[in-house]
Symmetry: C2
Subunit: 229 residues, 2 copies
């Protein structure tokens, strides 16, 4: 009767540490959740799958996290700071970079990240992609930590290139134009089912795509800037 209260109870681990030689059940569940949720998404993973992977009892999820969604949110929360590191390298082109250079740097870092298959340890990006395709309650976290910083970064670049304020409507549309071109290269069940060689995998093809998007977009932005409206 005190089990379900575990999730809502504030103080829960005051003592009794390291009784097992291996990791505690709670940690094993989190690790199994990271692995399976990132691989198949929230809906397609059952509580029993997770408990089997974690060699834990089916009731363990309910006991330690309240319910399946509680475990999922805990998994997602546990890795949001990893995003800051990557965003930092992608959004920082160096101290004296011009707006055009910052845009090129962004695309050159972002596109390979989208195209190249993710490693087994990169569970957080995998999880985010599932979240984008079928959002759960955790979608807000993904947006705030991953999407919003990039949008702000691009908005700054665009405002400089357009020589206008950041809330000029043209800024948002240019951000969309660049972001949309990049995201089209994200592997996608439909596209790869139809065109198996999508997205291009070779480094040469990826580099060509980067170069294309940069040239295409810079020219587009200049044209929009010239329109003045």
């Amino acid at each position: 009767m005190m089990k379900g209260a575990r999730a809502t109870n504030a103080k829960r681990r005051p003592r009794s540490r390291a009784r097992h030689s291996d990791a505690e059940t709670r940690d094993r569940l989190l690790e199994a959740g990271r692995l399976l949720f990132s691989e198949h998404g929230f809906a397609k993973v059952s509580v029993r799958d997770i408990c089997r992977e974690a060699t834990a009892n089916v009731a363990a999820v309910s006991y330690h996290f309240g319910d399946k969604l509680g475990l999922y949110e805990e998994v997602m929360r546990g890795g949001l700071d990893m995003l800051a590191a990557f965003n930092a390298t992608m959004l920082n082109a160096g101290p004296n970079a011009s707006a055009a250079e910052r845009l090129r740097h962004y695309i050159a870092k972002y596109l390979p990240r989208l195209v190249k298959p993710l490693g087994d340890d990169e569970w957080l990006p995998k999880l985010m992609r599932h979240e984008i395709r079928e959002p759960t309650a955790a979608a807000q976290l993904v947006f705030e930590h991953a999407i919003l910083p990039r949008m702000r970064f691009l908005a700054g670049v665009m405002a400089e290139l357009l020589d206008c304020d950041e809330d000029d409507p043209r800024v948002g549309r240019c951000v969309v134009s660049v972001q949309a071109q990049c995201l089209f290269y994200l592997p996608d069940a439909f596209k790869t089912a139809i065109v198996p060689e999508w997205p291009p995998q070779s480094d040469a093809a990826i580099a060509a795509a980067v170069e294309h998007i940069v040239e295409f977009s810079l020219a587009g932005i200049r044209a929009i800037a010239a329109k003045k409206t």
Copy 2:
């Protein structure tokens, strides 16, 4: 014992027509399938949902179509020719239209179609959007009848604007750049969960988006054409 054979049996309706005053069960199932599949997608609709909507027995789907997927494919097949009509108006800008005019016409027709909510009778486009998000075996049909003609059309436009052959690698990349910008305006569970006002709904905003994509893309294409590679 002859029931399941219904799906694989070639000749199935040689006689016994119009015994009911209302539509036959088979047709009611197809209509319910159109309605529910287009609204919620294949996976999220149960056989019982369909049979309740069609006021038919749960066994009716198995009897008439073999299984749930058989009904789904029959539903999809029954409307693929509707696509030809819309593609015709979207891909035909008039006899003497220049390449730039054809591109503008395409975007101006396509984007509102993506943004504006679909009517209750437009079940086929709804169904296609579900198919794109989580493809089933019918994805190939969607691609051939809906996507491929548009890609070919855009490739022709690009080849003319770039003044090159259609299998020039720049053609494909420009097609992607234009198509990606348009598709970003497709309503999306994640985007609307995060930015409720996405995509823009007012006619003015849509017109501005169309204008933006046209200007942005034409300038981009010109820049790519100038690069010669």
